[in-house]
């Protein structure tokens, strides 16, 4: 007690010490101090028992935060289940996930909006210090760079138990608090009601980089001195390779027959299932004949198309070619020494399995590249072209809305160009030198390497430091939604910004809505709030190191993400990485369990979005928990499994695992799916809310390049497991459920049916799984991947997940791109929402089932 200094009120009389002692034994309140102490106790008790968290989740950790509220962990026991959507009513901010630069201004604003007393828990490695994504150019190295944090919870992600522990630690901290009462000169240890303590955080600004206004002068000074450039001059830079040419064609087949000789180049083929060499040659001939010579040349199993011919070629392929290429699978871009190559993968929904690859080359210099836009041929190109523009700086002629999509307008660089070095850049490949202590017992923190002492880099010639203002919001600047006639003078239309902190946007996603009354007349998705530079980091990781990062793409389906990545690299590795039988079965079992877990989650939260307050969601989460238990048992982690390896899986199944899995598959999940079906599918309100809402017809679904349940709900039976079978999916019997109308209900129902089909596959797999090895060779840590390109496709629960890997024969991927189903499915959102109401937007978004980790990567 440090309160001897408190002056007693004048009216208090001096008491005989003996009497005092007696009093203390029998009377509760004997002194001023004690009275105030009791007030403290009651006050502290009130706060500790009623910590209402702000309902706001950033990334993967948020999933565990939600699980903490679920039946198994039940944060409600502590009176802390009242997640408030409005910061004004919240006491506790749980920063659950990666804090990106794009999101940081919002977080600071939310913090300022919370009333005192307020607390902050940094949940997970990312929120505490940047975590696995720390080196990313869009990642803040821990939320404590800006906010005062009360409790840090380690883990990636921390389990629900550790969040509960964090909460209890916070409660203990609150127990020790004493209030300030300036009136009587009592000094406590809290700062809330003191006038002299400024607790507001100046909202940082998105300028050329994220700028902290408290240190803006210093940043300006150091930038002008060119310290960053000076440091970079002394570092190894990533080497560029030339774009593939015809000469780089693979050695003839006979060479690869002899396993003793290492292939320098992988077999050239865009994907495991594709059109094939002969038919591709024929297609190239056709193109040259109809559209003039020089239209198409075959380079490494892809068609090289000159930019000016791209649009006619696309029209031809879509409308005239015998195989109608109506489906734009994905767009990627690679930075070579001589060009930036934009790669298009096309498939046909009529004749699936005829995937082809188009290569279009644009000038290499920053900002000089230009390619005609395919927006008018395939609407699905919309966001993907914007992504290429944002990341590589290639302009798409004719794109109606060519703005940055993941970073913000005003960001100074195009980050996926090979010549862009992140602020924390150290070396082209890991392991970074600062991480290796060479026996010196010392390694550096990334902050020590950057001249700004933080994840900051601005171009030397940047001048507008003085103009930076917290009120500016470059991410939120309204783009006029495409195809909508907006009458600026009409006063009954106004704009609502939903997100990035909003109860129903499933993460840090934002929708700028233009509404007329409550009717949507325009909608613009704004993303990038969780862009954590997966691809750039993936180019620094060695191949094996990248597995755990793929876990964190769509963090609800880590096993399935692993699967796709493994397939891509295995395609490059060729036969030597063919997984043994048992491993194939394990992979399929894991992928299908993941599908059930993910669909459970998605159906539960769709209902939540429709207003059934968490009840169905929590029942669905119970089933998911059972599956997570299986994952944890096999892989060691509930969510981030990191379980696949090239050519197999990391560990064999532990004894007893398969029996338990059989039990769950054969006896439990079916019943639970029926239960959901029984209680939900027929509910009047659910039908009213979902039937005929958010319709995406068959043509639109294909046009927008949607995939997965969204595409199938519109009646297109396009499932990668069928149309381009991978692993051993061709052995199992299962149906491809499709919808008829393409409304929210159909999407819900397709997911429900897909779970049934997954159970069917699982029943066959757990019956037939053989014994045997789980890897073709013994474990290796340094994998040599031959040079070449590969695009792998897997049917993830959210849709087609694709990995495009360009290897140059070194230890890391030269280019690594993820075709993210959630991201591309969002292209169709506006079309689905126009004419509906705000309430429907929430449901429609829920039915798309996006995960921000994957949207923003």
């Amino acid at each position: 007690m440090t309160h001897e200094t408190i002056t007693r009120p004048e009216w208090s009389t001096v008491i005989d010490p003996v009497l005092q002692k007696e009093l203390e034994q029998h009377v509760l309140v004997t002194s001023w101090d004690k009275l105030l102490g009791m007030v403290d106790t009651i006050y502290n008790w009130g706060r500790r028992s009623s910590l209402w968290p702000l309902g706001f989740g950033l990334a993967c950790c948020a999933i565990e935060m939600i699980c903490t509220a679920s039946s198994r962990f039940d944060i409600a026991r502590f009176g802390a289940e009242v997640f408030r959507g409005s910061p004004r009513q919240a006491d506790l901010m749980i920063v659950s996930g990666t804090v990106t630069k794009t999101m940081m201004p919002i977080i600071a604003r939310l913090y300022d909006q919370m009333p005192e007393p307020k607390y902050v828990i940094a949940m997970g490695a990312c929120a505490s210090g940047g975590g696995p994504f720390k080196e990313g150019y869009n990642v803040v190295s821990g939320v404590d760079k800006f906010l005062p944090v009360d409790v840090y919870i380690p883990g990636c992600p921390p389990t629900p138990q550790s969040l509960l522990n964090g909460l209890m630690v916070l409660q203990r901290k609150i127990d020790g608090e004493k209030i300030d009462i300036p009136l009587i000169g009592r000094e406590g240890n809290t700062a809330w009601y003191r006038d002299d303590v400024e607790r507001e955080i100046p909202v940082p600004v998105l300028g050329p980089d994220l700028i902290d206004l408290r240190t803006v002068e210093l940043a300006a000074e150091r930038t002008a001195m060119g310290l960053v450039e000076a440091r970079e001059a002394g570092l190894d830079k990533p080497a560029l390779i030339p774009a593939p040419t015809v000469e780089h064609a693979p050695p003839p087949e006979t060479a690869s027959a002899r396993p003793a000789r290492k292939l320098k180049h992988a077999v050239a083929r865009p994907s495991l299932v594709w059109l094939g060499d002969e038919r591709l040659a024929q297609l190239a001939d056709d193109l040259n004949r109809t559209l003039g010579p020089g239209t198409a040349a075959i380079i490494q199993a892809g068609l090289l198309i000159p930019p000016q011919k791209l649009v006619p070629v696309a029209f031809y392929l879509r409308d005239k070619n015998p195989i109608r290429y109506d489906y734009l699978v994905t767009i990627q871009s690679v930075h070579y020494t001589d060009c930036i190559e934009v790669v298009y993968h096309l498939d046909s929904t009529g004749v699936p399995g005829s995937l082809i690859e188009l290569r279009v080359r644009a000038a290499e210099a920053e900002g000089a590249g230009e390619v005609p836009s395919l927006y008018d041929v395939y609407r699905g190109a919309d966001f993907q072209e914007r992504e290429v523009f944002d990341m590589m700086g290639v302009r798409f002629e004719g794109h109606p809305n060519l703005k940055r999509i993941l970073m913000w307008e005003g960001f100074a660089y195009h980050p996926l160009r090979k010549d862009y070095l992140e602020p924390y850049y150290e070396a082209p490949a890991k392991v970074f030198p600062s991480r290796v202590d060479d026996g010196l017992g010392h390694h550096f923190r990334a902050e020590e390497l950057n001249p700004h002492g933080t994840n900051l880099k601005a171009p030397r010639n940047y001048q507008d430091w003085g103009k930076l203002s917290s009120l500016d919001d470059p991410k939120g600047r309204l783009l006029v939604p495409s195809g909508v006639q907006v009458e600026e003078l009409a006063t009954d239309q106004y704009v609502v910004s939903m997100g990035p902190q909003h109860p129903s946007t499933h993460g840090v996603f934002r929708l700028n809505l233009r509404v007329d009354g409550e009717t949507i007349v325009g909608l613009q998705p704004v993303m990038g709030y969780m862009h954590r530079n997966h691809e750039k980091i993936g180019e620094r990781n060695t191949f094996l190191m990248n597995f755990p990062f793929t876990d964190r793409l769509d963090y609800l389906t880590s096993m399935a993400n692993n699967f796709g990545y493994a397939l891509a690299v295995e395609q490059l590795l060729g036969d030597e990485a063919r997984p043994p039988e048992r491993a194939e079965y394990i992979r399929v079992i894991m992928a299908e369990l993941t599908r059930i877990a993910s669909h459970m989650w998605s159906i539960g939260f769709l209902l939540n979005d429709l207003g059934a307050f968490f009840t169905p969601a929590l029942y669905a989460i119970e089933e998911r928990e059972l599956i997570l238990d299986l994952f944890e048992w096999a892989a060691g982690s509930r969510m981030m499994c990191n379980y696949f390896r090239f050519g197999g899986v990391a560990f064999d199944l532990p004894p007893g695992w398969i029996e338990r899995c059989r039990g769950i598959v054969n006896e439990r999940i079916d019943r639970k799916i029926d239960e959901l079906d029984r209680y939900l599918s027929g509910n009047e309100i659910l039908l009213d809310r979902t039937k005929g809402v958010g319709i995406l017809d068959r043509e639109q679904a294909i046009q927008f390049s949607t995939s997965g349940p969204v595409l199938r709900a519109s009646g297109v039976a396009y499932d990668i497991r069928r149309v381009a079978p991978y692993s051993i999916y061709d052995r199992f019997e299962f149906r491809i459920p499709t919808g008829t109308v393409g409304d929210v209900y159909d999407r819900y129902h397709v997911r429900l049916e897909e779970m049934r089909e997954s159970v069917r596959i699982l029943k066959q797999a757990v019956r037939d799984i053989p014994d045997g090895p789980i890897l073709p060779r013994k474990k290796t840590y340094q994998i040599k991947v031959p040079a070449g390109e590969a695009y792998s496709r897997v049917e993830n629960p959210k849709g087609e997940l694709g990995y495009y890997v360009v290897a140059d024969g070194s230890a890391t991927a030269y280019r690594y791109h993820v075709r993210s189903p959630s991201f591309i499915n969002l292209t169709a959102l506006e079309t689905m929402c126009l004419g509906h109401t705000i309430a429907d937007v929430v449901g429609i978004l829920g039915s798309l089932d996006i995960v921000l980790g994957e949207v923003d990567r």
């Binding site: 706060r47 500790r48 004004r88 909006q113 005192e116 609502v496 207003g611 705000i838």
Partner: protein
């Protein structure tokens, strides 16, 4: 003397009501937990040896009272401040004419703050609809789009649902021949038949409208957390927010009490227990009636909570359709049919 008696009564009733509200919130959280296969609050109070998290409401209250009351710079200050006050006053005033026990000149005392009001029902509706001012003022003065949409939705909803609500009770009023709530209970008691049996359609319409009037799911559109964050109270913090909460729950109690009075026979129990006759006077009868009444009200409240944690929410336009296209015609039909039947029966 009488004035002091009434003041004391008001004091007791208001406090009991507030306590009841606090514990209703606890009950609601527990019900939510059980509906979702969880445990619910059980820590608060265990420090002092009190089980089941029974002290949770006190903790919430203590926290809320001492929370910083943020007054955002961009709000319209007078209206912003007055809105929660209106909410709670309107809710409490409505309760003034609700008889929660026996009332009458021969009784030991009148279990009603304002006894002998001939137009009890009208008063409840009139004052109850004042609550819409709280919502719309809060929504408008907050200068926030979510609040604004919430406020607009709410005013439309409350005004729409008042019509079927009012119409639905007219059947009972015709049958019992009085607007006085006591007279309505007495009629049911005399005939040993509850309103729900003589006017079943009226009961259903009343219940549905009551859900909408009290902003409970599936009709909680003004707040609809999934769309509008917090709806009209998005910008309110601390006790100002708490007052909306309290007002809402008092409203729930009032409406549940009305349901019991109009359609659930008040304290009547079909003569199954002694002392439950309108002729019975004395303390024992009074307490028996009070208890039966409270239990019934509690049952209605529990039913409302149970619904809340089970059903999804309507969309706004569907809600309006329901009111204007289904409930109001039905309520009119009910009124007409009741009038015809009465005319025939009574000659």
């Amino acid at each position: 003397m009488a004035a002091i008696g009434i003041l004391i009564k008001i004091f007791i009733v208001a406090n009991v009501l507030m306590g009841a509200v606090a514990y209703l919130i606890w009950v609601e959280r527990k019900i939510a937990a059980y509906a979702q296969d969880r445990i619910g609050p059980n820590r608060a109070g265990s420090e002092f040896g009190i089980p089941f998290g029974l002290l949770q409401p006190l903790a919430d209250g203590a926290k809320m009272l001492l929370k910083e009351g943020v007054l955002p710079a961009y709000v319209n200050k007078p209206l912003y401040l007055i809105a929660p006050v209106i909410a709670i006053i309107a809710a409490l005033l409505g309760f003034a004419v609700v008889p929660f026990g026996p009332v009458g000149p021969n009784q030991v005392m009148d279990f009603q703050i304002a006894p002998y009001v001939d137009i009890g029902i009208l008063w409840v509706f009139a004052v109850g609809s004042l609550a819409v001012y709280a919502v719309i003022l809060a929504g408008w003065s907050s200068n926030n789009k979510y609040s604004f949409i919430g406020g607009l939705r709410s005013s439309a909803q409350l005004i729409s649902y008042e019509i079927p609500l009012g119409l639905s009770i007219l059947g009972m009023v015709l049958i019992t021949g009085s607007l006085d709530l006591n007279a309505i209970i007495r009629w049911q008691n005399e005939h040993h038949v509850w309103g729900v049996f003589v006017s079943p359609l009226g009961f259903i319409i009343f219940l549905v409208s009551a859900f909408a009037e009290t902003n409970r799911l599936p009709f909680d559109l003004p707040e609809s957390e999934q769309e509008l964050v917090g709806g009209f109270h998005t910008e309110y913090s601390g006790m100002k927010f708490g007052m909306f909460f309290l007002g809402e729950y008092v409203h729930v109690i009032t409406v549940s009490a009305l349901t019991v009075i109009l359609f659930g026979g008040g304290w009547d129990l079909w003569g199954l227990l002694p002392y439950l006759n309108y002729k019975d006077v004395g303390w024992i009868a009074a307490i028996a009636k009070l208890s039966v009444f409270s239990v019934k009200v509690a049952a209605v409240i529990l039913f409302m909570m149970w619904i809340r944690w089970t059903l999804p929410r309507f969309r706004y336009d569907q809600l309006m359709d329901l009111a204007w296209k289904s409930l109001i015609p039905l309520a009119l039909l009910n009124l007409f049919a009741t009038a015809v039947v009465l005319q025939i029966v009574r000659g």
